[in-house]
């Protein structure tokens, strides 16, 4: 039985997904303001870390990391609706890459599991 991370294609899948995913976020006026485009390289690295986590890959993210990392965004108004949009774009990205729906659901589930930490509640 292979893991989700292996089925998705491991690190190669993250490289393939990160540009598609980040492009979707920057093009969506509902969430684009939460992304700093001055330090684009830094943003890309953060997206990769996020994708590694939700793809079930090796990561050292803790609930506290998630809280600290998003606190300033929650202060700017980040809420459940935005998290939904991010998860929808995540699904759209994986669909473009030909990932089956069952695996997309599993990714969404991991993303949902950190929702409360991200929203600092």
């Amino acid at each position: 039985m292979s893991t989700l991370f292996e089925r998705l294609g491991g690190e190669g899948a993250i490289d393939a997904a990160v540009d598609i995913f980040y492009r979707k976020m920057l093009s969506d006026d509902r969430v684009s303001d939460f992304f700093d485009t001055v330090d684009m390289d830094g943003q890309i690295a953060k997206q990769k870390a996020f994708l590694t986590m939700v793809f079930g890959g090796p990561n050292n993210y803790t609930g506290q990391n998630m809280r600290d990392g998003h606190k300033h965004l929650v202060e700017k108004g980040l809420n459940d609706e935005h998290v939904d949009i991010v998860i929808a774009h995540l699904g759209g990205t994986l669909k473009e890459l030909g990932v089956p729906d069952t695996d997309i659901a599993e990714v969404a589930e991991i993303a949902n599991s950190v929702r409360d930490d991200v929203l600092n509640r």
């Binding site: 690190e11 993250i14 490289d15 990160v18 540009d19 980040y22 492009r23 920057l26 093009s27 485009t37 001055v38 684009m40 390289d41 890309i44 690295a45 953060k46 990769k48 870390a49 590694t52 890959g57 090796p58 990561n59 050292n60 993210y61």
Partner: protein
Amino acid sequence: MAGEFFYKEKPFRCGERESVLDCLIRNGEVVSYSCKTGVCQSCLMAASDGDLPEAAQKGLRAPQIQRKLLLACQCYPESVLHLTSPEDTGLNVTATVVDKQKIGNDVVLLRLETKDNFEAQPGQFVTLQTDSALARCYSLANATSISNQLEFQIRLIPNGKMSQWIADCAPGKSTLTVRGPAGDCFYSDSIPRDAPIVLAGTGTGLAPLWAIVHHAIRDGHAGSIKLFHGAVNAVDLYLNDELFQLADRNETVEYFPCSLNETTQPGVHVGDLQQLLLAQLPNELSECRLFLCGAPELVNSLRKKAFLAGVSSRNIFADPFVPTA
């Protein structure tokens, strides 16, 4: 010996299956890190010699690999490595001003000579420092590979402190300290020779682009090369004649000078540099290498727009010239 390395000249030895990062943390060294999985790149370090394990450079951009940068959290040394922080790399040497020429309305070409050869790629930047500790960053604008002569295209700013120094300096006498190099804006070995290259800059953002275009031509780059230079007024498009000649001599090279204000100067586009560039992006977007230098607003805006248009993030090399506070 496997697992041995030096960090800032201090010796360390990794335990079994211990990364360089974990070893440094265990020994109480202050190092920046975050994810420890090779993703966030917070623990970027530089090696001066030794064979780098492939895994330690995974996910890095081509110029970083060429500069021997690595991720400490993914590094399990197979031979003795000498590591330091990326800021501490490079040289710190004295250079003498050997030439100073006006090449534009308010732009001078400054040529410095170092005693020994200076290891750098044309297009990277260095810090120039005067005896009175005045320091500014400038890009290496050499049209040839770099030996012991360093060329800069410097805009003289009214009341600028470094501008005043440069205006006053005497070729053959005045000296500066050169620190560096740094930056990823250069023609790296890993760029496929048939990849389309697009370069854009405003003002003296042309300096590194001038160096990169010449480097690409010298290395026999076969893909198309499109160079965009923007200015508020056409009179500030320095090296305009030279760049038209360069494009005439090389069929792969196209030059697009662009002035915001009206001009009667032949061949100069009037209008917005960004629109002009986005309309000229090559069809092979995923292969395109994009170099952006100059005014931060333009660099950051173009980087975002080109990325949204389909240029791969790893193929965009940007060098915003942040003004001195």
